[in-house]
């Protein structure tokens, strides 16, 4: 079975809302340019921004940088709002050639259609999640912490099924 599930170390996460993604000073305040199309990402220097809605982005960054970014956004003339949601979520890294098969046990979308360097909000076994594809065989899945035990159990069940299938094939 060639897929592993690993819970990642905590990371800083900001929910950024603004009507004007091209507003002056926004790039400097965030440390990156916000991508304009839903599902696309911009990545620079340890920061990663995913456009999740017409005026909404999720930005991951080192935890220590969150306060400075929020303060910098406060200074802008154009209203932009950043909320620290670092502790709201935890992230599972699903890595390996069977990763998409494992994800498709819970996701109603075609996860293989998410390109490397893109992402999306969706559901996994009815739980709201955010998927970030970092490579052909590597997907990060953000889950609200209160749902994490349920998601972990379902992922473990899936790993069990994949292992059983492999055993059958080998027999």
């Amino acid at each position: 079975m060639s897929v592993t599930v690993k819970e990642l170390a905590p990371v800083g996460r900001l929910s950024v809302r603004t009507e004007r993604a091209d507003a002056e000073g926004l790039v400097d305040a965030l440390g990156l340019e916000l991508p304009q199309r839903i599902g696309t990402r911009a990545t620079t220097g340890g920061r990663d921004a995913l456009c999740v809605g017409p005026d909404e982005w999720t930005v991951t960054l080192p935890e220590v940088d969150c306060a400075a970014v929020i303060a910098a956004l406060d200074e802008l003339d154009e209203p932009a709002c950043a909320v620290d949601i670092s502790h709201r979520e935890t992230t599972f890294a699903i890595e390996g050639p069977d990763g998409d098969t494992l994800l498709s046990m819970g996701c109603p979308i075609d996860v293989t259609a998410i390109e490397s360097g893109a992402g999306t909000r969706t559901v996994f076994a009815d739980v709201p999640v955010t998927l970030w594809r970092d490579g052909p065989t590597l997907v990060r899945m953000d889950v609200w912490r209160s749902f994490a035990p349920q998601v972990r159990t379902i992922l473990e069940d899936g790993l069990g099924e994949l292992a059983a299938q492999q055993k059958l094939r080998a027999a």
């Binding site: 109603p108 979308i109 559901v123 009815d126 709201p128």
Partner: protein, 98 residues
């Protein structure tokens, strides 16, 4: 499961990501105090029960989070068209309605 085209994400997504939100194009009265109880009750409670094309609101809850409008045939459960919130109800060509 229905596949719904989200006009904001510009993508077809499964129904599991969406929430139904009732009939579309219901205009909130500007000054409810000017209305009789019957008129206000009609605004508040009375909805179409169309057999055929129905304009209704949906929200892409587990996607972009936006409300938008859908034309759905209640007989076939086929979604004929989706369009952004605030846009007028589009006319359907007969081909699209079939």
């Amino acid at each position: 499961m229905l596949l719904i085209y989200c006009p904001y994400c510009e993508e077809e997504r499964p129904e599991a990501e969406f929430t139904y939100a009732g009939q579309a194009h219901i205009v909130r009265p500007g000054n409810p105090s000017d209305m009789s109880d019957d008129e206000f009750a009609a605004f508040l409670f009375m909805r179409d029960n169309a057999k055929g094309v129905h304009a209704e609101r949906w929200r892409h809850t587990h996607g972009c989070g936006r409300f938008f409008n859908v034309l759905r045939d209640t007989v076939t459960d086929k979604i004929l068209m989706t369009y952004k919130a605030g846009e007028p109800r589009p006319a359907l060509s007969t081909e699209a309605a079939q």
